[in-house]
Symmetry: C2
DNA sequence: ACAAAACCGGATAGGTCGATCCGATTGATA
DNA sequence: TATCAATCGGATCGACCTATCCGGTTTTGT
């Protein structure tokens, strides 16, 4: 009956972890949840350790890489994400369900900087998380089909548009942070109105499926958000061609 | 007539720089233009130096901080940006001018990763650049007024919506990079359709002016983008993670 | 041609990050 | 209670970043 006993019928998840180890594991996840939500995935492992009240090594012992910690932290959030699609599919009104999904998912991005990044990044090594993502994607395709059939959604809407929506929303919540915590609502409302049927005009083609996948792979590295003072400027150059250059 | 002579009536800009120094200064700016455009503001000073064929110290001698280099590099890009507003105001058709401005500005973001961030960040120390930004903003307010008066633009459109648009577009171009270089066009087209009058539904309130300013201040630090896509293939371990970036 | 000032760039300082090492500690078992 | 493996956490590694230092080189004015 003692928890942690090596009995086969014991509690699953934590397989034979010493009691203090299991306690720390939960502390770490709880701390990481808060830190990633507040500072995004760019938060350092050290800051998570500090928040959890454990040593840095303790984190890496339980989660050999940062990516694994991220996967552990966001596992249940991805569940909620997949659930949101299921809830939307259960809605009797296809368009209402579609809009509800969008608002729920974007609200999740706004409430958790880390999750905003997760939705626009793929983690090939975190199979469980990617599985949820695919489940959600398949549900979204059906959701879109229903909404189109019911006439609420414009016919040229593509599943990839939801990915683009999340990228755009991530840009807004990342840039605004807590300075303007509700700005995303207006952006999302504008998007939703542009999704409504009938289409006001034709759209440029959607990006290819695999291009978007590569884009999400590429995003992996880092996420701004946190660092402080040393601000640097940014710049751009324009040099080449493209679009309307001024002279 | 020799350039660089200490004559008072000499060429302005470069005040008495030795010929080789002036040559390097231009090389540095040209290199930084390309590097920032390709890799975003997260690109390191070392990579700029390498591209320019000069030493790191040479860059910091001419531009004491990275922010100053950025300001120097983007000065003309901000001019083009302000020009785009002027061009839009000169358009006989207010709505056409409004849409043209949006497409031009967003195209500039897509063509230059660094500029995408510049548009969503303020640089209090770079006064010239901030002046251009304000000029552009004032022009945008007039542009919006004209477009509303002509009936093309929905009445509840707010100038801050253009800032949000740029934040959203930055999110898309940052996430997509060169993997899906045209994805932004579809997003912008959707936005434009949602801007068109008549409004399909009311919108959540706009963020407060000063909140958006604080958000743009806060955005400063870093920008991902840096690391190359396929890279890291090498040995095992560490593949992922960040690093460069960002920052 | 020549000296002095201006300039160059590699090495280095000092910071952060992810990740690892190792001596000290603690929990589980008998 | 005694034992020992499992665990802990601070120190440390290596890589990268911005920024500075300093000995060698180049431009400039006479």
């Amino acid at each position: 009956m003692n928890p942690g006993r090596p009995q086969p019928s014991d509690d699953i998840a934590a397989q034979s972890l010493r009691s203090d180890a299991e306690r720390n594991r939960e502390r770490i996840i709880a701390a990481a949840r808060g830190v990633f939500a507040r500072d995004g995935l760019g938060a350092s492992m050290a800051s998570v350790a500090r928040e959890a009240g454990v040593g840095i090594a303790t984190i890496f012992r339980r989660f050999p890489t940062k990516e694994e910690l991220v996967a552990a932290v966001f596992a249940d959030r991805m569940d909620s994400y997949a659930d949101a699609v299921a809830v939307a599919l259960a809605d009797a009104d296809p368009w209402h369900g579609f809009v509800g999904y969008i608002e729920t998912a974007c609200a999740m991005q706004a409430a958790d900087q880390g999750f905003a990044d997760v939705l626009t990044t793929t983690f090939p090594t975190a199979k469980a998380m990617e599985k949820r993502r695919e489940e959600a994607y398949e549900g979204m395709v059906r959701l879109i089909g229903r909404a189109k059939a019911a006439g609420g959604l414009r016919e040229d809407f593509d599943p990839s548009d939801l990915v683009l929506l999340h990228m755009a929303n991530a840009g807004v919540v990342n840039a605004c942070g807590d300075a303007a915590p509700d700005a995303w609502r207006r952006v999302v409302a504008l998007f939703v109105q542009s999704f409504a049927a009938p289409a006001r005009a034709t759209l440029p083609a959607s990006p290819a499926h695999e291009d978007l996948y590569r884009a999400m792979l590429r995003a992996g590295p880092e996420v701004p958000g946190a660092t402080a003072p040393g601000r640097t400027g940014k710049s751009s150059k324009v040099a080449t061609d493209k679009a309307g250059e001024a002279d």
